[in-house]
Subunit: 260 residues, 4 copies
């Protein structure tokens, strides 16, 4: 069992036991968010710098519910549609909280919220020059994930399906190609709708899964958070265990040769 | 969390916390089988009466590795191709071990090992007259699962795909129809190949999953057994939590209205 | 091209060039039905004996629009829920129109309209004794299609999905198993929703496809009938042509070796 | 029927009746290529300028088998890995054959042959300045297809799956998003393996399909070319006809209300 203990996820030099990252949007309140975090076993929460109150002590603060000493805060640039916007936002985050490990997302059309990869590359370059460790939300195009890795991304975060759609991983071929060629963690970000979507992502060989809506908009978010904890472990363990081959025909469970 | 404790699987009046049932074929040896059982958290193992040594004390016995006092033994009729064969086999099992809760399977062509449902119904009738509690391996045809339930089956066990194929659930439409109309437990039996297959079965609303090859023929059976434990819990919890609706377009995780 | 001419579908000794069979329910009127037939290129229409007016000369008659001398009428037992009902209905059809080639369907629960295979086998036996050539709507269970063939069925007609659902073929594994073991025509009956569903059925190796709702409830039934004509030809030709193997990686269309 | 006649595909001001474009690589010889073209009904062939002999009269020439007066030659840049390479290649093509309508592809890693979208955009700009009408092989990322359209692309040609893989359309969500937002033709390029893949592409609303390996590497390429002709028509007609809605439960083909 000690082998299992060693299966850590390392991002920018920090080790995590959990391979699930959850968000902080769409919850009923901060308490529910904290309860979901607890049920999920996640050690990282991602926070939209432009939305969540990180610094006004007169209003409720997320940090009163989720302790930044226990949980890694991963500031993100949700709502940024240009590279400059994204860079400015993350600089503010660093000033406010000292966070160096950040998640970059530069969005395009609100209809699909896909990343604009040209803008993303531009912002990535600026952030690296500023000394950030950058996890990057990106399309599932292996050409761009390669470029991001070459630029020093701390993690590649391809989308599985449009943000908030809950459609599950649309293109496992691309995700597999990305995993095969990457030496930094690959974390599916966006598209997970239910537990099996997360399990499938991990079975493909992803290093982790980030999700928000799938938990926050389940009928019972806390219970779904718990489901996701198990789903990610199940997929990871199945990946490491090595599945049986698929067969076109039946194969008896109980070999019958030599029976009386 | 007390709500979770109450989510038991009840079969023929007995309560189980685990919704995973594993087999006893294809393992390297009884010790590996016992280790897999331990890792899986299963409380029921199914045993091919015609294959496993249940009564010869001079040869290694499964019961020396898996204690029948701790784990429910579910004798099955693997290798039986007629109703009479199946009935005779289960009567022997009852004499040998006193088992009343049994799994009936009457197979047909070795190429696909589908159940012969006419023979299955005939055997079912005889077994009920004999006072057995009968869990029944069956096709995924809702007409026959209805008949089995009307005849007093203790559980309906439709196949997900051919035995040992690892193809996953082929016809979720049928499984859903069966679940909607059944008031006894519905347990997918056969076809699971990896963790996500089990999660998907449970998300459809199945009450449990039975598998053998997926664990025994994984590269690391013990690790896969652990994966399956989590997979079944993940699917069950996701089903109870109630997943988010799927959407055709994106929906921002962090609502941006009212941002500065 | 002469090879193509020889690719006929032979049912009960009669040859057909088209592998598409269409229904006569749900159309706006008989004229639209006849136009759809024309656009589809089908040579067989199936007719619910209990619904369509085949004998009352004072009301509009299907035969005034679709000439039984040009198109094979295939009487069916839609609406029959017992074997006796089905047999009685087809005897009436024979008296009314002299039809010997018939389609048997014995339905069960209206929710899914799956065949009751026990009743179907019983009716099949009676119809064979009466000298009918029987095409049989059945589940996609290869055990039962084998029994039907052994009893002398003129064609095996497994469902692809519930009647009228338009879900497409749910279980290609079963359809393939049935095709591999059958020596009479295998015709997918029920479940087709759009053209690609029919193409996929034919690519699996089916000998034909029967559909009703997919055409009759399309926004433009005549245009969909034309689509289906091409879809069935496309699938049949692709099956006979032998598709390329699937590959996990790219393979350049234009080999570049030896380029300047 | 006159409505069907008007369903033309217009690319850069030219009208085509066929929506299928085929390649000129991997065929046994030019004669087989010409026969496949004939069977496919295609009016456009795409030609790798760097591979096919377009100008050396001492060697066999494609133009001796496929008459450029009857069939549109679409020069492509297969084998180009930089924008400059691609532009130089197409200038040569224009000098050799006067072709203004061209297909741009700037490839990346041979393992997946995905386009490098940054290089593609750069080449696109240069080609527009040179006055070419440019059809563009691209990823299925709607952000980039929008940019290509804004730059004046004559057609958007997203990949369905890796070139030569035959895996079929991997991400219908993306293809649909691209179709919804585009006002120039959208033609799936790469990934088709069999007839139903082409039908599915057209049912999504694509304006056309380009393929090479699916035909050239079928066991019988001529027969597969014919299959593809029908597959594209089937999908187009089904799209225009408007398919029936999918239903979760059965819906009788022959309404039984009012039966005797």
């Amino acid at each position: 069992m000690s082998a299992v203990k060693k299966d850590v996820l390392t991002i920018a030099g920090r080790d995590y036991m959990s391979r699930l990252i959850i968000g902080t949007g769409k919850y009923a309140d901060y308490q529910q968010n904290a309860d979901a975090l607890d049920a999920s076993g996640a050690e990282i929460v991602t926070v939209a710098v432009r939305r969540v109150n990180l610094s006004d002590p007169s209003a409720p603060m997320l940090a009163d519910f989720i302790d930044p000493d226990d949980t890694t805060y991963l500031p993100n640039t949700a709502g940024c549609f240009t590279g400059e916007d994204a860079v400015r936002t993350l600089r503010l985050a660093r000033e406010a909280g000292g966070w160096d490990l950040v998640k970059l997302e530069v969005l395009s059309d609100p209809k699909h919220l896909y990343p604009d990869m040209e803008e993303t590359l531009r912002a990535m370059k600026l952030l690296k020059e500023d000394g950030f460790d950058v996890m990057v939300y990106c399309s599932d195009d292996p050409v761009f994930t390669r470029k991001l890795e070459d630029m020093g991304a701390a993690a590649i975060m391809p989308l599985g399906a449009p943000i908030g759609s809950g459609l599950g991983i649309q293109n496992p071929v691309n995700i597999r190609l990305i995993i095969e060629q990457s030496s930094v963690p690959v974390i599916v970000d966006a598209g997970v709708g239910t537990a099996s979507d997360a399990t499938i992502a991990m079975e493909l060989g992803c290093d982790g899964v980030l999700m928000n809506t799938a938990i926050a908009e389940a009928k019972d978010p806390i219970r779904m958070a718990r489901a996701m904890k198990h789903a990610v472990i199940a997929g990871r363990e199945a990946y490491l265990a090595g599945r049986m081959p698929k067969k076109r025909y039946a194969d008896p469970s109980s070999p019958l040769a030599g029976l009386i």
